[in-house]
Symmetry: C2
Subunit: 305 residues, 2 copies
């Protein structure tokens, strides 16, 4: 069933110990939609500039991603550049030019309004809230946020996530949002804020899913070579929500099997791991559903006891 | 089948965010033997001073641990004191008084010589080697080491571990020993040094086991309250080797099931998690095998998909 993804589409310049790319397609919405497109039909809500290249439109379209909600505005596309540390656990932002993204105001095409799945990428909480308000048929609403909104827009953020079924953030964001160092306590505190499901990404250490009465943890996939971690967390998000949409899960009305949630976390992990194997979105140019299923089975092999 | 454990028995002074203990039983050998004692008969090789308390002898004896190899020397027992950081991921050593441990030269009682399982705690590699040389019937030899031996006694260490079936170290030690940042590459490099099995402890993130043709990863158990992480890694070691001994696994001649190895890692994780629940060895005063089996099943519940 169709999934609407809201967020940034960008051009990135990235340097990792494996090399350097001056300009490549990026942005949270891009990674989420590409990853989710292996599981379900995606529709994006985003803004790009006049410089947005045809070949990038073609890549998204080739994955059957609906671009009716991709607005083209006067000016340049959001640009980000960064350098990763030697072990790739840290990155330094060199430059952020918001460009057309500075005035991003998500416009939902009529053809998106009755869709059942919504993923709200990391944008201002109030904007995330306006999108959700326009979609009356949602079965699953979830999204991401970041330290900036947690620190400086806390009230807006709390009002926004109160209506979500799941929140998907990383461990340091979970600690910051909850004020708890211990992740089990952090999870309990966040589940009391509204979402019935919390997913915590831990980078190379894997991911966790919490609900009031259960939790699931998976270790990270061990890549022999991490080429570029850019977009791995967003690819995780795409795999996670994409699988829930494929399965027709309903988090809003509570009809969801534990197994589906756990597998959604595995598919998220699978998509995040593939993303790191090449620069930017390159791995998605050749990736097949068979590759995904093979790695899913590999997860089973190295975690079963 | 019986397990011989060689290493330190100590008194520790520890401060964590939950409190402070001025003097408590500690040392790698103590934790390893206590944890392993739930699975198999343990025999220790260690040295203590004249100040070693009867109640501590009694605790070890109450777990049916053979103390024939626990030498009592003139002087004081090894003393260590440390303070943990707020999140307990770091600790600072305040004081290390080696005392009788400075001249520790492991003496193997005749009654230990034909035992099939040996765990060599973190001591000078050449001493580890002499113990192994005295035990002709070994089915499993494994042990631990630390950054100091890796950096300053590298050749001795390499000669020693060449004869081991498994090496059990933490992730930073694995990186240091192999010179590889990536853990999959680090594991391959270490497996080429002799051991057929490598276990890497990752603290709160869990543990991994590598063999030439397979690997297994388990996330860490999520405690709601970590009281004191002292001894958690050694308790892991005790659970791991203890279970292999209980199952009669033979790593030397290769008769070992993947499932037994994976479960040994789970039992190690279970014992490490219990250790953190109270100060020092206190949790082992009340812990039962039923508690252990319950947590083992909990591991299955939160990792199955």
């Amino acid at each position: 069933m169709s999934l609407v993804v809201v967020g940034s589409i960008a051009y990135d310049a990235v340097e990792t110990p494996h090399g350097r790319v001056e300009r490549m397609l990026g942005g949270a919405c891009t990674y989420i939609a590409l990853a989710a497109s292996y599981f379900t039909q995606c529709k994006v809500v985003a803004v790009v500039g006049e410089d947005f290249a045809d070949k990038d439109v073609e890549l998204l379209a080739s994955r059957n991603i609906d671009l009716a909600g991709m607005e083209r505005a006067a000016g340049k596309t959001f640009f980000w550049s960064g350098v990763y540390s030697h072990d790739m656990n840290d990155r330094m932002t060199l430059r952020t030019d918001l460009n057309v993204f500075a005035d991003f105001s998500p416009k939902l095409p009529d053809s998106y309004r009755d869709d059942p799945y919504l993923f709200l990428g990391n944008i201002q909480p109030a904007l995330q809230k306006t999108v959700r308000a326009q979609m009356p048929q949602l079965r699953v609403t979830g999204g991401d946020t970041m330290n900036y909104w947690i620190a400086d827009y806390r009230e807006e953020l709390l009002e926004t996530i109160r209506e979500w079924d799941f929140l998907l953030i990383n461990d340091s964001e979970a600690r910051m949002l909850s004020g708890e160092q211990n992740l089990r306590r952090a999870a309990n505190a966040i589940l009391a804020m509204g979402p019935n499901t919390l997913v915590i990404k831990r980078g190379e250490y894997g991911a966790m899913l919490f609900r009031r009465d259960q939790y699931f943890i998976v270790p990270g996939y061990l890549l022999e070579e991490v080429f570029d971690p850019t977009g791995a967390g967003d690819s995780f998000a795409g795999g996670f929500i994409g699988y829930l949409a494929e399965r027709g899960c309903d988090l809003k009305n509570g009809h969801v099997e534990r197994r589906d949630l756990a597998r959604a976390v595995i598919y998220g992990s699978v998509m995040g791991s593939f993303c790191c194997e090449q620069f930017g979105v390159d791995r998605f140019r050749s990736l097949s559903r068979d590759d995904i299923e093979r790695r899913f089975r590999e997860f089973r092999t190295f975690t079963e006891f």
